[in-house]
Symmetry: C2
Subunit: 319 residues, 2 copies
């Protein structure tokens, strides 16, 4: 490891904001053997508690994250926020506006906010989000919140990798059904019925509790529905207390260690997969791929081409 890399490791471990920010950019851009640095940071991870916040667009995820961050700061803990934002420069304005709401937090040295805009990244958004959380963990942030924008497959993977996952629902016709369809009922450890000042909230709470009641809780944890009006700071303390209860539950039942082992397994498989791929697609094989794509008219099956390429590789391995 070069001297400059050792410097970065030391600076990140000392919690220097600018070093953390630069390293995250390096990870996002997959630059300069950033994995060597992450490797060195690894032994310093494991202390940060990871919270996932998800829900349909407009359900108040940013607002809740903001309020939770304020409570966490009141208790003297440091917090890192990873907002997973598949945004391009073209749409940057909208998200920036959203982030601006957090202005009172960004001036606070104990808060680190990062929007990840890595759509199209080779490494995959879920893997990158974990890498960023690892950096914040090593830098001494006691809590790390993943906040998603979408509610799709990758976003579910990201929040599921958290220790506690919060799902936001709003009292609107069909929101429970839509939430079920998006797979949200499966992954929540805590459900927050936000915008509880709207009509129909009590009825919705009963419906949601009924639906959750149908779910088998293999872990022994029974998710509850907490009412909140996040933008008026109502119900936030109760959510915060419930997070603490869930954390205690996970720790006492050795489930926290299990979650961590699962994250490590996913990480290791990812590293192997991407490492193999990088080694595989050398100049020779890349040009074979290009030739194949140019010869489309003959309609040769990609299965055949892949098998030929792999057979050649596997013969070498089995020698």
């Amino acid at each position: 490891m070069s001297a400059s890399m050792s410097d970065i490791v030391a600076q990140v471990l000392a919690g220097e904001r600018s070093a953390v920010a630069r390293l995250i950019s390096r990870v996002e851009n997959e630059k300069d053997d950033y994995r060597i640095i992450l490797d060195k940071l690894h032994t310093h991870t494991g202390k940060g508690y990871r919270i996932g916040v998800t829900g349909a667009p407009g359900s108040g995820k940013s607002t809740l994250t903001n309020q939770l961050a304020k409570i966490i700061r009141k208790h003297g803990s440091r917090i890192g926020i990873v907002a997973v934002d598949p945004t391009s420069p073209f749409t940057g304005g909208a998200v920036l506006g959203d982030r601006l709401r957090m202005n009172d937090l960004t001036l606070d040295e104990g808060v680190f906010i990062r929007s990840m805009a890595t759509r199209g990244s080779l490494g995959g958004l879920a893997a990158k989000a974990t890498e960023v959380a690892d950096i914040l963990d090593a830098a001494g942030y006691d809590f790390i919140i993943y906040e998603t924008v979408g509610v799709g497959q990758v976003e579910l993977d990201i929040v599921e990798a958290a220790d506690t996952t919060i799902v936001l629902i709003v009292p609107e016709g069909g929101d429970i059904i839509q939430g079920m369809k998006a797979g949200l009922m499966e992954i929540g450890d805590i459900f927050v019925l936000n915008k509880y000042d709207r009509p129909g909230s009590e009825r919705m709470q009963k419906d949601l509790e009924y639906v959750l009641h149908l779910k088998e809780a293999a872990s022994g944890w029974h998710p509850e529905v907490l009412p909140a009006v996040a933008n008026r700071n109502q119900g936030i303390t109760e959510i915060w207390e419930k997070i603490a209860i869930h954390k205690k539950f996970l720790t006492e039942n050795k489930l926290l260690a299990k979650k961590r082992a699962n994250r490590l397994k996913t990480r290791l498989e990812f590293l192997v997969r991407t490492g193999m791929e990088a080694a595989f697609w050398d100049a020779k094989r890349k040009s074979k791929l290009q030739e194949y794509l140019k010869s489309q008219a003959e309609n040769v099956s990609p299965y055949k081409v892949a098998q030929n390429l792999l057979d050649e590789l596997l013969t070498q391995i089995k020698k």
Copy 2:
């Protein structure tokens, strides 16, 4: 290839519904060398035109898909619908209810509807969706519609792999902003402002047109905003005509062949990746992984372990 596999290929090419359904199940469950069958079908693909339909939950995707299917049938073409639904048995009821809306179509021999519930699949949802579309394509369906439930990263990947992508927006406060945040503005070839009978629709159309105007159209195609009230069958003909115009544009500019080449590239890379992974994780390496996860207390970095495993492999390859 076994005799029974040849039978399946022949039956699918003849458009036999039950054979198509069984093969799709086989693909979903990754059973019995299904890739051998897909390989045989490949030369018969390329005729089906692929349409992606996406938008926030509740924007009317199922309804629009339903109406488009009816128009397509009126023109005498056959249509396959792939609804990408990350649903579990627990939430199955909700989606079933949604599918029931299509009842008038399911009795029609020229329509094939399939919900894909492959969350957690090893192969990845986007790859599976393409495989299912390939089967429908080979079975002679002239149009294939991908309809997503979520609006996340994987869902964007799926609809982007379509030839024409339709994005639904509804006239609701913040929906344009939420759509931008979810990356929807980037991927639409046609924008449908659904539920146009609601107040504020005209204003919303102007806003949306303005936002789209900001976007650079590298391809030369300028997406338009079409008003619709899908559940009252208003505006559907115009959408259908716009799809035909977009198809013509892609064909004349050789962009359809380019899209197809991109799909093949993604497919080939996927086959190589999963093939290598399957070969890599043999019993010996799996037990190494388990040992590592058990030794967590020592906090050994996954980067180091992955590198050791890969070094061993790459040394063998380079021999």
